[in-house]
Amino acid sequence: MSDAGAKPALQTTAGATTAPAEVSIFQIFLEFLIIGATSFGGVVPYLRGSLVTKRHWVDDKEFVEMLSISQSLPGLNATNMAVLVGEKLGGAMGAFAGVIGMCLPGAVLMFVVGIFYRIHGDHVWITAALKGVAAAAVGLILSTVVSLSKKSLSAKFDFVFIALTVVAVNRFHISVPKTLIAVGILAILFHHPRKEQKTVATP
């Protein structure tokens, strides 16, 4: 542990340029196609496994950063990540290839499932199974709510904003965009930049 002191100095050179030499647009498409076809039960772990661990297209820090941008923006994590990573690797074409690859397998699958459900959705055994599936999906969303709360809330008072949002949408039937803008502005103002946070250690 004698050379531990040398480490902080090295960190300053860790820039955003972690991309390997050249990644073709087709490679981007193919990688996201694989993720899009195999990511059962949520894309984030699959994205990390593929982009960070297997391909080294982004490093872990950049991945977390991109994920937090994806979460703050409208749009699904899956496609936002495809755009951000695709853009980094191959510009506009890379982003396009990433999104198409990501969406294609699920879209084809749900296209077929939709037709099947339309024809056979009234069968008693399908209705029975779907009742269980829908209940399980509610539990799944609730678990997402809990784990997101643990991960991304930065103040106890944030629960007030959560409650405000739920009550506005569910109880008073205020539209989602109005709620989003009104409560969003309140919450952003609440989290306004404070002087103390600016203490960035300058060497």
Partner: protein, 175 residues
């Protein structure tokens, strides 16, 4: 009747509401697709959404099924582009700008402020879906069991949704 323009309008609007996750748009999706345009009924919307949780990729691909029902293959394609196009373009534009804003102090404020709101929208979507999906003790039991298992163990959620189907088959099958 040609539903394509309505499909494009509705789904590009819904796309911009998916802050924090697809579920955030669910209350508006219910109003627009079920009540206003009557492309499907509430039960079908819940079924499609839930089945969509078992599919790989972005977890809102059930929109393709709605598009297909309302406007055939072209409808499915229109919905796909309308739902993923606007947010993809927005993410693309932000990808460049956001990095430059790293020093901007309000950047952190925006992220910290949007976090509780997006969680609230997710929860609101969940409640409005639960109104149709949780119909008795059995369904409530399944939902709570899935929640507790996911919080306790590292298990693939898609497997639990499949398990929900099996339990549903045995529990709700008319004898």
């Amino acid at each position: 009747m040609n539903q394509i323009p309505a499909l494009i309008r509705v789904f590009s609007y819904l796309s911009l509401l998916t802050v924090g996750g697809g579920m955030a748009a669910f209350p508006e999706m219910k109003i627009l697709t079920v009540d206003v345009h009557q492309w499907l009924d509430f039960k079908q919307l819940i079924h499609l959404y839930s089945v969509g949780q078992m599919a790989p990729g972005p977890n809102m691909m059930m929109i393709v099924s709605i598009g297909q029902w309302a406007g055939g293959t072209l409808g499915a394609l229109a919905v796909l582009i309308a739902f993923f196009g606007p947010t993809a373009i927005l993410a693309f534009l932000v990808a460049k700008g956001w990095r430059k804003l790293e020093k901007w102090p309000w950047r952190t404020s925006i992220q910290q402020g949007l976090a509780p709101v997006s969680i609230g929208l997710l929860l609101a979507g969940c409640f409005s879906m639960a109104k149709g999906a949780i119909t008795g003790v059995e369904t409530a039991g399944i939902a709570v069991a899935v929640l507790l298992i996911l919080l306790q163990y590292k298990i693939n959620p898609a497997l639990l949704v499949v398990a929900g189907a099996v339990i549903g088959l045995f529990t709700f099958m008319p004898k």
